[in-house]
């Protein structure tokens, strides 16, 4: 299927993969690792252009698998969490596809029978990190290698959103609510993080909320706005993750409490960070700003949603201000040891590519949107942006990087412990007592005979 959505996303996949592959080129453990981004690109292309849901699911799973190996190279536990969550999503989608294929051809990528809609939303929700199903996102994004985080946040989650775009053809209040919750949740969590990449991960969650809410309108306008925001967010977040990765590379830490005056050591890195941040925060005339304007225009009939999204936008700005302040501008003593390590030229090149893509996208978006749209809400948007920065400056105690915030992922460990109780009961059934086994078997025989009664 080719239409503006798939064409744009196909191009975006390439634009995302090339810098990510360059960034990881030197750090790769072996040649096989260098191959991974390109495999991801191949699978992503197949998924985006898939004719039916089955092909889509298969290639979505394969793309997740390549990213799994990426994450595996750095952190095993996180990689497993990512794999299980993605397999669970794939399982729901596969079940939904099988049910939709009942008695006929494979269902084309598009709307599905109403009864299966929730199943598909849950399946895609694992990929797109809908609230509650987002438990894998913050740990995975923060602990993956930087280039993998860029691909994950910039593109992999968007493939789930792509599925939602195809799926939703009528307004869906439930999905819109999910989007609003995501946006608010991400915006609340992001400014409170102390891990730079975790902060960016929550900001991704928040931006995905914008996109999902826009998709949930079910209108063409909503989908177009979502697509623009996908592009804007992918490029900006890709660049941000690479700058965060470079900080880690240089100072050996992602902890905002320990990072020092990076802006002095690497002014260019700070410049790149600013380019991405300003677009992501929605500065007027950037592609991010235009995309957010388009989303708000698409949501014109939903005043409450709009209000929450505006507030969430301020949260994003505060989070980025925090990263700038503590990651680049902090005057306090850096507590790491030794001088910062120099960054490899390929890292600079990849970040420059992202920045160039972002600037080009801004120009292209400005040209398409026209002066009238671009200048429509300049005043309000600028005020929101400045207001957020002022809030950040005036409330330093809230944003001090010395706290951790609770999240759904914290529930995983207790839930796992709870599950071991019934599991151990089950194991105790297999105690080796032959009499018990035979009694159980004869009991089951009676059940079978009862079920077969005439």
């Amino acid at each position: 299927m080719t239409d503006p959505i798939s064409t744009t996303l196909t191009a975006l996949a390439a634009v995302m993969t090339v810098p990510a592959a360059l960034y990881g080129w030197n750090a790769a453990r072996s040649r096989l690792y260098r191959l991974l981004p390109w495999l991801f690109l191949l699978f992503a292309w197949q998924a985006i252009t898939a004719p039916n849901w089955l092909v889509f699911v298969v290639f979505l799973e394969l793309s997740s698998l390549t990213l799994f190996f990426f994450v595996l190279s750095k952190d095993r536990e996180t990689a497993f969490l990512y794999l299980y969550s993605q397999l669970a999503g794939g399982a729901c989608l596969l079940l939904g596809t099988a049910l939709a294929a009942r008695g006929g051809a494979l269902p084309a990528v598009g709307a599905v029978p109403p009864g299966l809609f929730p199943l598909f939303v849950i399946g895609l929700g694992f990929k797109a990190a809908l609230p509650g199903l987002h438990f894998w996102l913050p740990p995975t994004h923060s602990k993956a290698p930087a280039e993998a985080s860029a691909l994950l946040s910039g593109y992999a989650v968007k493939m789930g959103v792509f599925g939602l775009m195809r799926l939703v053809e009528a307004p869906s209040p439930a999905l819109m609510a999910a989007g609003v919750v995501m946006a608010a949740l991400g915006a609340l969590q992001a400014p409170l993080q102390r891990d730079a990449k975790r902060l960016l991960a929550y900001s991704t969650l928040s931006q995905l909320g914008f996109i999902v809410a826009s998709v949930a309108t079910g209108t063409e306008e909503g989908r177009k706005a979502a697509l623009l925001l996908i592009v804007a967010h992918a490029l900006a977040k890709g660049l941000l993750f690479l700058t965060a990765g470079s900080l880690e590379e240089a100072y050996d830490t992602r902890d905002l409490g320990r990072l020092g005056p990076a802006a002095r050591d690497y002014p260019l890195l700070f410049g790149l960070f600013l380019v991405a941040s300003l677009s992501l925060a929605g500065l007027p005339f950037t592609v991010g700003g235009l995309a957010k304007g388009a989303v708000k225009a698409a949501l014109a009939d939903h005043a409450l949603t709009q209000a929450v999204l505006s507030a969430a936008g301020m949260g994003t700005t505060m989070a980025l201000a925090k990263m700038a302040s503590f990651g680049f501008l902090s005057s306090g003593q850096r507590k790491g040891t030794g001088r910062p390590r120099p960054l490899p030229p390929l890292a600079w090149l990849s970040m420059a590519l992202f920045a160039a893509a972002l600037v080009m996208a801004s120009f292209a978006a400005l040209k398409t949107a026209g002066a009238e749209v671009a200048t429509k809400n300049v005043l309000v948007d600028s005020l929101l942006l400045i207001g957020a920065v002022i809030l950040f400056v005036r409330l330093p105690r809230i944003f001090r990087p010395d706290r951790t915030t609770p999240d759904v992922a914290d529930l995983l460990a207790p839930a796992g412990r709870m599950l071991t109780i019934p599991l151990s009961r089950l194991r105790r059934l297999h105690s080796g007592h032959l009499t018990f086994y035979l009694a159980l078997f004869f009991g089951a025989t009676l059940v079978v005979l009862y079920l077969l009664r005439p």
């Binding site: 698998l65 009942r102 599991l423 032959l434 086994y437 079978v448 077969l452």
Partner: protein, 485 residues
């Protein structure tokens, strides 16, 4: 080729190997190899010969024993030949040719397996099941040195006997109600029996086959037998033995039980789902790698029983396809883990560190097989699960379908544990390093088979063959007509 030869050839081996041992000790090895090749080739030729019906001794089907070759038989004959050949080669490498008694039992079980697959007579089916089981009990306990193996064999014996008892009761009632034992004739006359009799007959047969195939709650013998047996035997148990009982279940379900409307298939769906869930949940908690694989086999048996319970040609196709996939992958897994456990002199997963450095190719093959069993796309396990899902969806069996897809996540979780261990660091170097060229070659062939099976839906003849198995098997009238012509 006359189908009876597929039964005679392994029997011949079983009866002549002792003679070789008595008169020409040096020839035992050669004889085992030649008989193995002969048995496999005969079965394959019978399978390739296409549909055929032979009634032994030239009697009428009511009296004589009919041997029937149709597409389902063909599929399982091929499966059995592949499985037995692979296991025989591995056994020859592991044991050498000294223990001739083992090979006698091995060929006996092979002959009985082919008999179960080929026979068209219900009592004959029982007889072959008994030969097969007696050989299996002993093979599991072989070599009779470790008490675990003997205990496992004993447990298998008790359960197997109870299962055989139920089979026998079912067959006896069927005979009392109709006076017939030929399956084709029974399929015609059994529905006329009183409803209550029919229920008891079907109930007894189903329950008996549950034990033989390792369906919950008749599965208690399976983990012990699989984990205590020697590696080639474990591979054979999981790859072929449980499949034979599932073959019987498929055959009887559509020929004899089809008349008892949906109740039988509901029972199959119910117990299949329970088996699947229990197998996965138990595999999740194992520390012993072979027990993990054994419980995974329980789960896969559940998957196949669910596929049969879908009561459609699509379901049978999925069941047969999955049986092949499971045979290829699980035999591979058992062979690889046997070699690795021998290197470490332990089956404990926690002890399996550093084996990737030690035997990289074996570990990579393990990963491939595990991914295939777990159903990671686009491997063969995924393909057959998809066939199954479609069949289950058409049947409206939502919960079994959901259990199957949930099983993917769980199996990924428990297979990642040994894999993580293999790639992890080792505290000590593995103490043993015996070369395993034959096992290595078999593992490579099984890996290749997995890849070919993954492509099966895209290879015209294979796809057509799989679909034909489903179509022909569900159509009981066709079978009856061919036998009674």
């Amino acid at each position: 080729m006359n189908p009876v030869l597929a039964i005679v050839a392994p029997f011949l081996a079983a009866f002549t190997i002792p003679l070789f041992f008595v008169f020409r000790k040096k020839w035992v090895g050669t004889a085992v190899i030649l008989f193995g090749v002969l048995s496999a080739l005969t079965a394959l030729f019978v399978a390739a010969g296409g549909e055929a019906v032979t009634v032994m001794g030239g009697w009428q089907p009511e009296v004589g024993i009919a041997l029937v070759v149709d597409s389902l038989t063909t599929a399982f004959l091929i499966l059995a030949s592949l499985g037995f050949s692979a296991s025989l080669s591995a056994a020859a490498e592991t044991f050498g040719y000294g223990p001739w008694r083992f090979y006698v039992l091995f060929f006996l079980s092979w002959a009985a397996t082919n008999g179960i697959i080929l026979t068209g007579d219900l009592f004959n089916l029982f007889v072959f099941f008994e030969i097969f089981s007696v050989a299996a009990y002993l093979v599991v306990a072989y070599p009779p040195r470790s008490w675990q193996a003997i205990e496992a064999g004993f447990k298998y014996l008790i359960f197997g006997t109870v299962g055989a008892l139920f089979l026998l009761i079912g067959i006896a009632y069927a005979f009392m109600a109709t006076g017939q034992l030929n399956m084709a004739i029974l399929a015609r006359v059994l529905p006329r029996a009183p409803e209550a009799t029919l229920s008891v007959v079907i109930g007894c047969l189903v329950v008996g086959l549950f034990i033989k195939s390792g369906t919950v709650p008749g599965h208690f013998w399976l983990p012990d037998a699989h984990s205590s047996a020697q590696t080639p035997v474990s591979a054979l148990l999981s790859g072929v033995f449980v499949k034979v009982s599932l073959y019987a279940l498929i055959r009887l379900a559509f020929l004899l039980f089809g008349s008892a409307d949906d109740r039988v298939f509901f029972v199959l769906l119910l117990f299949g789902t329970v088996t699947l869930c229990l197998g996965h949940l138990m595999a999740f908690q194992q520390e012993d790698i072979k027990r993990l694989l054994a419980y995974s086999t329980v789960a896969q048996v559940g998957t196949i029983v669910i596929a049969i319970g879908c009561a459609s040609s699509g379901g049978v196709t999925a069941a047969v396809y999955h049986a092949f996939n499971h045979m290829a992958a699980k035999m591979g897994l058992f062979l690889v883990s046997g070699v690795l456990a021998e290197d470490r002199a332990s089956r404990d997963i926690a002890q399996m560190g550093g084996l990737f450095r030690h035997r990289p190719l074996f570990v990579l093959a393990f990963c491939l097989f595990a991914a295939s069993i777990a159903g990671i796309p686009p491997l063969n396990g995924f393909m057959s699960k998809w066939f199954l899902l479609v069949a289950a969806a058409e049947r409206g069996a939502l919960i079994p379908a959901a259990a199957v897809v949930a099983g993917t996540v769980l199996s990924a979780a428990y297979y990642l544990r040994p894999i993580t261990a293999f790639f992890g660091p080792a505290e000590t170097e593995p103490p043993h390093h015996r070369p395993h060229p034959v096992t290595g070659a078999i593992v490579a062939l099984l890996a290749l088979l997995c890849l070919v099976l993954a492509l099966a839906p895209y290879i015209g003849p294979l796809k057509e063959g799989l679909l034909a198995v489903g179509r022909d098997t569900v159509n009981g009238a066709r079978y009856i007509e061919r036998v009674l012509r």
